[in-house]
Every structure is written in structure tokens, then in C-alpha cells.
Symmetry: C2
Subunit: 461 residues, 2 copies
């Protein structure tokens, strides 16, 4: 019997015991954002250290200014085995409003859902259930083969739900210890209950705020209207000019570094069946905005955007005031893909705006964050191995998807430790993460363990 087969078999027979371990972790109310649960956060970290040590990891609770990190190391079966850093977080979201929960959020249980079993409780999906899929896969490997197919470093954070204030300093201070060949992050979802997914791209972000100033004070629109510059008009013109009639962004150089998505990837996305109808009807819309002739998945996963996130100027209260404002402002963000350069995008945008400001008016800018896109090349061996492993486990072939938003840790691993991240997770869209009655499918927990067992096997080859 090949090693993998016995490992998978061990996972199956050990499922009830693995569930008991997850329950023990879920019972600890490690709410990171509420100081009242500070001790519980440490308790969760200590529980994890103890569990990892029981499997032969050298593990420790590492203090930070906030909640502690858990760091653990285990050698691979051979000295030249790949080295992976696995990331998860043991902290959970607050549980209010408590009266909307059907059960105590910290008394986990297995219940029968619509023809399937679910694990209920705060953190079941986000992220305790997910991180334990990896831990249990390691346990099974260790139990069956006495070792792990790859060298594993584990990093569990306790502040993911409260903005990760300690993460960057910790990565910086411990870069040598944490640096691996690549990272594996288990905090995302499947496409559906039968289709595993790998998130291969995260869009980057540039945020900027414009303030247009015209007259030195608010003016009476009767006395000055028609002769004095109106900053809202100027701002509206700037914002309207950002997109052309086909929905393309008109800022010079904006598309530099943007690649066309390969036809086979587009075809895969097409097959996912999440077209404009499904995507938009949920939010009360029916016509894709943005660049014409592209699917909604391509638009949100693989195309850059410019969005005005807020606008303000003049009289905004009840009723009416015939005022010409002295200034007006807008918050604008750009989602970036591929190799678009945040620094160049910001500079080009600001030039674009300045060119539209009359000579007697002025504009000022405030920077609001900047991060490049994260993009795992579709032909990367890591990706192909993980895809094959996942496809072996689940009814449907694994799909490579993207995320319109960002997961900061992935950018930090890239920037601070020079590592790509493999984003694999087993959550489902209806897991109610951050909401009352959070759950995790038993099939996610079980299949997740088996999936990681397969992935560890695949990447060791």
C-alpha cells in the first residue's frame, strides 16, 4: 500500500477523534478584538502548541504586543524536501448578536443539515476548522510514515480578525525562521461543495483622495453662479473622464503590465456558470458595468478597475442651499492586476486630475494605501501539482479562480519573505463566517484533511 493511501485511510478512521480535537479548540472563545477574551486567545495558542508538540513539532507560543503567535517546525522526510510555511489564524470574530444564534457559539456540535452533516460554532469555518484540516493531515502522515513528506513551518496568528497589528513586525523580526519555499494559506473557499478551488490571483489596490479647491469661501450661487468656478463641476468632469464609453480606464499608461487572461482559463471560468445573470441578480442589477465584452468573472478577477468610493461637496443636508462650494472631494481606488505598478498608477492618476483643474483652482491629494496584485503564474509547477491533488480528491476537477479583493498576508509573504502563496481552502459561500450560526461542512473538514494529505504528497515529488 503506497504511503498516501494509508494516510488517507488513517484520516478516515481517525475522523471522530479529529472532530473531538477541533471541538476542544472551538470551545475556547478566542475573540481577538475584545480585551475581555485576552486570556482565551493565549489559551487557544497554548492548546495548539501542545497539540503540535504531541505530533513531534517543535512548537512555541511567541509573545507580541498583542495576542501571541504560534510557530512550529517539523523536518521533512528527506533533507532536500521542499519547505512550506502554513498560515492560519486561531482567533475568531465576536458573536453578537447572541440572540440570533440557535446554539451557544462556543459549544460546538455536529448537526444534520439538508442531507449533510455540519459542524456548528464560532470559528468552525473561519479559521479553526480550516487550519485543523492541515494539522490533521500532518498528524496522519506522521502516524503512518513516522515523518512528513515536506519540511513544514506553521504560523498561526491570533489577530487576523482585528487587523493583524503584530504580523508585519513579527515577520520582519523572524524572517529567517519563517522563510520557506512557498506559503500555504487556508482561509479561502471552494467553488461549490463538489468543486475545489485554488485562488491564483488577488487584485492589488491604490487608494487616493482628491480635493478640488476653487473660491476662497463658499459663495452664494445667485450672486456668483455663472462666473465663479464650481469645484463640484470640475470634480464631476474629472471623474466622468476616467472611463470611456466602452468602460475602459482612460488614464495614460493605466493598462501597462496588464496581461490578457489565457483563453483556456477564460473557458474554465465560463464553465463555472456564474455569468452576469447570477452574479448581478443577487445585488439587484442586470447589466455588467465596466469594460464591455468581458465576463463578470474576468472583470472582477482579472481586470483592473477605477472606482469612486465616496464623493462629497457643498450642501448635503436636508432641503436646499444655493451655495457654490469652495471645495469638493472624492475617494478613488484602483484595483490592480498582474504587473501594474501602484506607484506609476498613482502618479498617472494625479497627472490626469491636474490636467483637468482650471489654472485658478487647485487640487490636493491624500494617499490611502497601495499594494501590487498577487499573481501565481497559471503554469507554476506548485499550482499544477496542487490542482491535480485536489482534482483527485473531489468529484469535480479543481478550478483556478481569482479574488477581486486582497488578503494582506499574501502580499506580506511576497514582499517581506519573497514567497508565493498557495491559497487553498474548503469553506463554502453559505458558511456564515462573521455572522451568527457559523458552520463548516463535515465534508469540508474531512475532505480538507484528505486534500492536504494529497497536496503534501504531490509537492514532495
Amino acid at each position: 500500500m503506497p504511503a498516501l493511501a494509508s494516510v488517507l485511510s488513517r484520516i478516515d478512521t481517525d475522523l471522530d477523534a479529529s472532530l473531538e480535537r477541533l471541538f476542544a479548540l472551538l470551545r475556547i472563545p478566542s475573540i481577538s478584538t475584545d480585551p475581555a477574551y485576552r486570556k482565551n486567545c493565549r489559551e487557544a495558542a497554548e492548546w495548539l502548541v501542545k497539540d503540535l508538540e504531541s505530533m513531534g513539532f517543535s512548537a512555541s507560543v511567541r509573545d507580541t504586543k498583542g495576542h501571541p503567535m504560534v510557530v512550529a517546525h517539523h523536518d521533512g522526510a528527506t533533507p532536500d524536501a521542499p519547505h512550506v510555511l502554513f498560515y492560519g489564524h486561531y482567533d475568531v470574530q465576536p458573536v453578537d448578536p447572541l440572540d440570533l444564534w440557535q446554539d451557544d457559539p462556543f459549544a460546538p456540535a455536529v448537526k444534520n443539515g439538508a442531507g449533510r452533516k455540519i459542524i456548528t460554532g464560532r470559528g468552525a469555518a473561519d479559521d479553526k476548522g480550516q487550519l485543523m484540516t492541515f494539522v490533521e493531515a500532518c498528524r496522519a502522515w506522521k502516524a503512518e510514515t513516522g515523518s512528513l513528506p515536506v519540511k513544514v513551518t506553521i504560523l498561526f496568528e491570533g489577530e487576523e480578525e482585528s487587523g493583524s497589528p503584530s504580523l508585519k513586525p513579527f515577520l520582519e523580526a523572524n524572517a529567517d525562521e519563517l522563510k520557506a519555499d512557498f506559503a500555504m494559506v487556508c482561509d479561502t473557499g471552494m467553488w461549490d461543495a463538489e468543486t475545489p478551488a485554488i485562488s491564483t490571483a488577488l487584485r492589488g489596490l491604490v487608494g487616493d483622495e482628491i480635493k478640488v479647491k476653487a473660491a476662497n469661501r463658499d459663495l452664494h450661487s445667485g450672486l456668483y453662479g455663472g462666473a465663479a468656478a464650481n469645484p463640484i463641476h470640475i470634480l464631476a468632469r474629472v471623474l466622468a473622464d476616467i472611463h470611456d464609453e466602452t468602460g475602459r480606464v482612460t488614464i495614460p499608461g493605466f493598462y501597462d503590465g496588464v496581461e490578457e487572461t489565457p483563453a483556456d482559463v477564460l473557458a474554465t471560468w465560463e464553465k463555472l456558470g456564474r455569468g452576469a445573470d447570477t452574479f448581478l441578480s443577487d445585488i439587484g442589477l442586470s447589466i455588467p458595468a465596466g469594460e464591455k465584452g468581458r465576463s463578470v468573472l474576468e472583470l472582477t478577477w482579472a481586470r483592473p478597475t477605477a472606482e469612486v468610493n465616496g464623493i462629497s461637496g457643498g450642501y448635503e443636508g436636508e432641503g436646499f442651499k444655493t451655495v457654490i462650494a469652495s471645495e469638493a472631494s472624492a475617494k478613488v481606488s484602483f484595483r490592480l492586476v498582474h504587473r501594474q505598478d501602484p506607484v506609476k498608477i498613482r502618479a498617472a492618476f494625479r497627472e490626469f486630475v491636474k490636467a483637468r483643474i482650471p489654472a485658478d483652482c487647485s487640487v490636493s491629494f491624500t494617499e490611502h494605501g497601495s499594494s501590487p496584485a498577487i499573481h501565481l503564474p497559471f503554469d507554476s509547477p506548485l499550482l499544477q501539482k496542487a490542482k491535480a491533488a485536489l482534482s483527485d480528491e473531489w468529484p469535480n476537477e479543481a478550478v483556478m479562480i481569482a479574488m477581486g479583493g486582497s488578503i494582506p498576508i499574501v502580499g506580506d509573504f511576497q514582499k517581506m519573505l519573497g514567497m508565493d502563496s498557495l491559497l487553498v481552502g474548503f469553506g463554502l459561500p453559505d458558511d456564515r463566517v462573521h455572522s451568527p450560526n457559523e458552520k463548516y461542512e463535515m465534508s469540508s473538514f474531512h475532505g480538507g484533511q484528505r486534500s492536504w494529505a494529497r497536496i503534501l504528497d504531490a509537492i514532495a515529488r
Copy 2:
């Protein structure tokens, strides 16, 4: 000695006594907006009734739901003399911040300004000093000739500084009593201390609020950006489209009913020396906005405008939020001239907006007031007589100016009583009305009395 000459002479010799009367009225703190001064408002009304009765007017205090009106009547010298309605207001603005006043605002005094005498105190210019110029002119006519050259009805209001809530109901209930051949309103200013002015036009106003709705909730711009409609983009496009590159309003039919200002009037305005430099430098600007190739005075006095008075949407607080708002709104107003029809303008604007809303989004509108422009024909005999009378009195010839804003009473007289209004006043731009240290020039008070004496004479002919 012709009647007018002796009347003017009487005004000169009676100046000190007229000043005492004005002081008596200025001492009454008739602040209409503050309930604490309710009795003082009535006191001012009663003082005026008594003064008018002393000159032979049949005068009375007329109760309203708010502060009382003063209505007074006096026959003309002949039964076929014209009948004029004179309007002024006896209420004044609040005086805070009191510590910025050099003197007690209700202890009027004559002081020496820069080589000239000024009358200080709240209401000196707005409007007690101005309304008394007319009363004193009548007194002099009565004293010298035993009668008045025209039939005079006087209407003094006590709520002008607090929105005139009782005015329309009062005009409606007393239309027969108040209707005259035309109205004379003394609440405006001179062009400068040597140049009297008649305001011949007031722009009308249409106010409208647009609310664009897109998705059924606020969206995460990472997850939906690029595929979901952004109402701020739609609104910016609508607002940017309102003006073309030459500053003209592009709404179909917008310029229907707009007349070109006669060349000789434009030439007069040109001579006033208030070009773009002077007009704009005060407010920190230098380039006229709006329609190209027109002077700032023409732009603000004789051209219609579209102005966005307020805009709001998405995240407007500190920092940044990557949200796509579900709705965005703007307040837009149009200043109207000549025969532009407010009803048609509003309808055309709404069609213009609707044509720019994507089929899966919606727009709603809220009406915020509507009034047509007021326009006294340049060749009206009333205007020509008043202009000649004013030109006889002052060093410079009277100029016909316009006002970019509106004076509601003029529209009410037009609409409810079918009367044109002659707008003549003697305030100066530096009178600090509504501010601490309000003043009225002694030359305004004296020359104003003489001016009305001349105008009454002129229009009786």
C-alpha cells in the same frame, strides 16, 4: 418755487429731525427670529403706525400668526394720480457676536467715517434707514404741499429676516387692499456712493435633487468592482454632461425664452468697471467660469446657469473604505432669466438625467422650489422716470443693474398682485448688513430722502 424744489429744501432743513426719528426706530431691538424680542417687534410696528398717522396716513398694526404687518394708506393729490405700494421691513437681524460691535447695536449714533458721516446701529441700513428715506420723503411732500403727488399704500413687514412666513397669506387675504399700479421696494443698494442704481432684473430659480440608485446594498469594491454599476460614476457623468466645453448648458430647450441683452445695456455695464479681475479676485479666482465670451456681470445678471450645489455618495468620513455605494445624490439649481419657464426647465432636466441612467439603475427626484425670473423691460416708462429722477439727484447718472439672486417679495407682488416692482435703494456694499457694526451712510439717508421725493414727483407726471 416749484413744489419739488421746496420739498427738497424741506428735506435738507429737516435732516436732523429726521435723524432723531430714525434713531427712535433704531433703538427698538426688533429682532424677528428670536422669540425674546417679540414685544419689541410689535413696538416697532406701533411706532411706525403712530409716525405715519402723524403725517395723515390711515395706518394700522395688522396681526398675523407671526409678527404684525404695518399697512397705511394716503390718497394722492389728484384722483387719477398713480397708486404705488411701498414695501420695507422693520425687523432686523440678530446682533451676535455682540463682542465684535464697537458700540451698542441698539444705541444708534452718527460717527465720522473716512471723511464722511455714518449712522451706526443694527438696522441702520437693513432696512430701517432705507424705509425711513421713503417715509421722510412723504413727510416733506405733505408738509410743503399738504398732500402726496401719488396715492401711496405702505406695507411694512416684520419677518423679512426670518423667512417671511406670514407674507404670502397676508398678500392673499388683503390683495384688493394692497394692489396698486406698481410696487416700490427699498431694500437694495447703489452701485457706489456717487452712482444710484435700479435693479431691473432678478434671476429665477429651479432647485432639484437627484438620487441615483444602483445595487440593492453597498458593495465591496474588491468583490464587485468592475462588474457592478457605481452610482457615483453615473452621477458624475450626468453632471459633467450638463455643460459643454464653451460653458453652455446642454439640456435641450434650456435657452428657450432667453434674450440677448441689448448692446447699449452691455455697454453701460462695461463702463461700471467691474470686470473679471475685480469681481473674481475678491473670491480668490481669476478666470470666469460659465459661458465663454461674456462679461462676469452679464454672466451673473443676464444669463441662466446650472450649478451643482451639493453632492454626496459612498464613504465620506476620514480614511478610506473600498465600497461601491448603492446610491449617490446631488442638489442642482438653475438660475433663470427673462421668459425661461421653470416648469419646462425642470422637466427637460429630468429627461436629460433619465436618458443617462442605465436600464438596471434608477433615479428619483425631489423638487426644491421654483420661481421665474423677474424682468422690468428696459424701456418701461416707470423705469425711465425713476432713472431720470435719480440721475438728477446724484453726481453720476443712474445705472440699471440686475441681481443674480432673487428677492422673493418681488416675485410675490408679480404673481399674487400682478404688479411690477421698482427696486431702488441706497445701501452700499460696505454697510455690513447682517454683520456686526452695521452702518448706513448719512449721504444715503439724506440723498435717499431726496431721491424718493424726486421719484414721487416724476411718476406723478
